[in-house]
Symmetry: C2
Subunit: 183 residues, 2 copies
DNA sequence: ACGGTAGGAGAACGCTCGTTCTCGCGTCAA
DNA sequence: TTGACGCGAGAACGAGCGTTCTCCTACCGT
């Protein structure tokens, strides 16, 4: 098994555990058991748990935004693309094992103690907001709308996570539709 | 010093520490140092750390919703009262030491491991949503609006916490104003 | 075949922290 | 006065866990 494949296996296990149970309640030993990657290898690839956490968030960030963009690409009409963001959120919320936004959760857990994790959360949220701003701009709509859509999406993520329901996506979509309609 | 006063002192210290640094990174010893209440007393009043955490969240819930309602009471016109919620959020976000929503943070930290904390978070959010629904209802507006305003408020809390800025409150207020205007 | 190296399993180490225990002191009723 | 009691200070205990170390096995080039 090559080093990249082992790294993937470790990150796969870390992601499932960290996302599902929180970072602090998962030990390096749990990651070893779940991944089959020995502690020695784990520490060769990630010299500390915090670096494993950072790698987990970074890889998930790329995948999350990639999946969102891929879904939105299906739509051609600029306003439809904006609403598609909320449709995609609804699909995500309905996936088995959904437990809220990984970055919001990580911020609650580690934001006060790990400046690097806090920075990654801010970077992820800024990237998501910028993406919304690009959709708004492409539709020729005023820039202020992006911030409002962003707040709706964040509120939907938090609420879906806490209540374990996909419905906030539909509520946010409807609010977004009303905001679009006035423009 | 009577038992109730000691309990208050303990909760005051616990609240400041738990809210400011997160629950897991604060030890019972830290609470003792900050409050001046001995460990023996602490464990008499709260037989376990989890119960101290629950008491912290419960007392904060009452105060938080009380302060919000008190602020909103100042306004007579039903639609103004709805917008006043977002004004109050902006004031809260600007307070020194603001570190986001205590319940969202607690959910990220403990939601996966403590069913009781998760339940308290859900109860707090439900109560806040119900309060918004009562304002919407009093204004004779459709019930669906309450969910949309709730998402805006939640998104603003999360974003203000992560970015350490009070601005999301103004953005959410503007979105709320636009949603109200169409009705 | 064989010395050297990489790697796995898991023990070991050291620290943190929730919780309990010990000890000594002051208080108060009889 | 005295003895039981409450309490604070802080040591002690035990578990969990991040990190490192030991030991053993398997494979490599020569």
């Amino acid at each position: 098994m090559d080093s990249a494949g082992i790294r993937d296996r470790a990150l796969d296990a870390a992601e499932e555990l960290f996302y599902g149970r929180g970072v602090q309640s998962v030990g390096m030993d749990d990651v070893r058991s779940a991944s089959g990657v020995s502690l020695k290898r784990l520490y060769q690839l990630f010299p500390s748990k915090e670096q494993l956490v950072e790698a987990y968030l970074e890889r998930r960030d790329g995948r999350w935004r990639g999946r969102l963009a891929e879904y939105v690409e299906q739509y051609g009409e600029p306003r439809e693309r904006i609403l598609a963001v909320f449709d995609w959120l609804g699909r995500w919320f309905g996936e088995p094992g959904f437990r809220g936004c990984a970055w919001i959760n990580a911020y609650g857990e580690l934001g006060a103690t790990s400046a690097r994790v806090a920075g990654q959360v801010r970077a992820h949220k800024r990237a998501f907001r910028d993406y919304l701003a690009s959709l708004v701009d492409a539709a020729g709509l005023p820039g202020a709308l992006a911030g409002q859509l962003f707040l709706l999406a964040e509120g939907a993520m938090v609420t879906a996570g806490v209540t374990r329901s996909a419905e906030p996506a539909a509520e946010a979509r409807e609010a977004a539709r009303l905001l679009l309609r006035t423009l």
